[in-house]
Amino acid sequence: MCLAVPMQLVAMGADETGTVELDGIQHTIGLMLIEEPKIGEYLLIHAGYAIERLDCAEAEARLALFRTLAAIHRQETGQEVLLVAAPLRPETRR
């Protein structure tokens, strides 16, 4: 259960609400479950409320791993390597 997508906080509203955006669509959501939300942050939106914030550094580290794997696959299958793989960060745990 529990579909939630990362959306960027673009404006604060009244009564602990905010406006979040994903690819040009905006929605008003509740912010009361987030400690000190800040404009520009990515929040996980579930049922009209932000339930957590997205740690962009952690996300980028994981995306770098996936880009590296993709590059390895293209190399091994003889495809042109389109992306220079970003250096892989060690797995970080909070």
Partner: protein, 370 residues
């Protein structure tokens, strides 16, 4: 889409196909077969949508667990909701509940019979309706796991502070760790690892799964809902099996903290207290649910109307309970696809597109060949 598209890279997925095949072979050479349970319905849904099973080696099986709140809702709860609708209350519910069979009827049928039943994306809809119709009582069908409780209680908190008198909850809140503990305690069950829910974990924290790994030796990986998250998660579970140790691996660290979301936890503690609740197909599990505390009884549809949710009646041939426990695959139920299909669901697992049977029926990968 930022932080979505990058987790759906086809070339990286192709690389996982190779890696999982190698690890699967290594594990098979040791004589092993691995059965992992994706606990959460959103994982089930993503596995079906992105055809993840197509990437798994023969020695690895994924079974769907009890983490779809619609699927585990007792028929008696639907009966109570229908009764409230027929009394003239406005019922507000998440969409998938509309077609869940109660003992005799569904919310969709009672809407056809004149009940006012609204489906919503957010519980805020219930609050808006309560303000718009001060002469009517609004009953919100408060189902869900830890993730969904937080938004529902945030809405209730707003209603309480605004002194909205005509809004109540019919609660069926359920907790993930107790049902996992109950599954592990079942001697017939052979689960080698849990793919732990993404957003339940965001609320309760990755530490919540420690007892399963530390005490029961069950591998645990907290994984996101994107396809590469799931493939990476299965790799993590398989590596734990091969290494012969069990731990809680938080791979969804971009969202899930070890301790979870404290604000959400405080809100839950403030309004709710543990209760023994009935899971459809699994029966009553001690302290596996949460109900409103007595001081908030005025928001509780049951106590406000002297209603008690009675365990409902299920089709005796329905094997949803066995499916939820991961003992059988949906196709092994004699009703699957014959008497029970998405247009006419008998058991709850067929109702929701996230339910094990619904997902398997809709996205069946059986027989698809390249």
């Amino acid at each position: 889409m930022n932080y979505i598209d990058g987790f759906r890279n086809q070339d990286a997925a192709a690389r996982y196909r190779v890696t999982l095949a190698q690890l699967g072979q290594e594990w098979a050479d040791q004589g092993g077969r691995a059965c992992f349970m994706e606990v959460c319905g959103s994982h089930t849904m993503a596995i079906a949508r992105f055809a993840i099973r197509d990437f798994l080696p023969p020695s690895v099986t994924l079974v769907s667990g009890p983490g779809c709140p619609v699927c585990v809702t007792d028929p008696g709860y639907i009966d109570a909701a229908i009764e409230l609708a027929m009394q003239g209350k406005i019922i507000v519910t998440f969409g998938d509940m509309m077609r869940v069979p109660g003992s005799r009827s569904t919310l969709a049928k009672s809407r056809a019979a004149g009940g006012w039943i609204e489906s919503c994306y957010s519980p805020v809809t219930a609050l808006e309706l309560a303000r718009a119709h001060p002469d009517r009582e609004i009953v919100f069908l408060a189902i869900g796991f830890e993730t969904t409780m937080a938004p529902v209680l945030a809405m209730l908190d707003t209603a309480r502070r605004a002194a909205i008198p005509n809004l109540t909850l019919l609660t069926a809140f359920k907790l993930v760790p107790p049902v996992l503990a109950a599954l592990i305690a079942d001697p017939e069950l052979k689960i080698d690892g849990f793919l732990c829910p993404a957003h339940v974990s965001a609320v309760i924290g990755a530490h919540a799964y420690r007892p399963f790994a530390d005490t029961h030796g069950v591998a645990c990986v907290v994984a996101g809902f994107e396809p590469l998250d799931i493939l990476h998660g299965v790799e993590g579970l398989l590596r734990q099996k091969i290494a012969g140790h069990a731990t809680v691996d938080n791979q969804y660290s971009r969202v899930v903290r070890p301790e979870g979301n404290r604000i959400a936890q405080r809100l839950v503690d403030h309004y709710l207290m543990p209760a023994d609740v009935s899971w459809r197909g699994l029966g009553v599990i001690p302290a596996s649910g949460l109900v409103l505390r007595p001081e908030f009884a005025r928001f509780d549809a049951e106590s406000r109307h002297g209603l008690t949710v009675q365990p409902g009646r299920l089709n005796p041939h329905c094997l949803c309970g066995e499916v939820l426990k991961g003992k059988i695959r949906p196709v092994h139920c004699s009703l699957f696809g014959v008497a029970c299909h998405p247009e006419h669901p008998l058991g709850p697992c067929m109702v929701s597109s996230e339910g094990s049977c619904g997902a398997e029926y809709r996205f069946a990968s059986g027989g698809v060949t390249r």
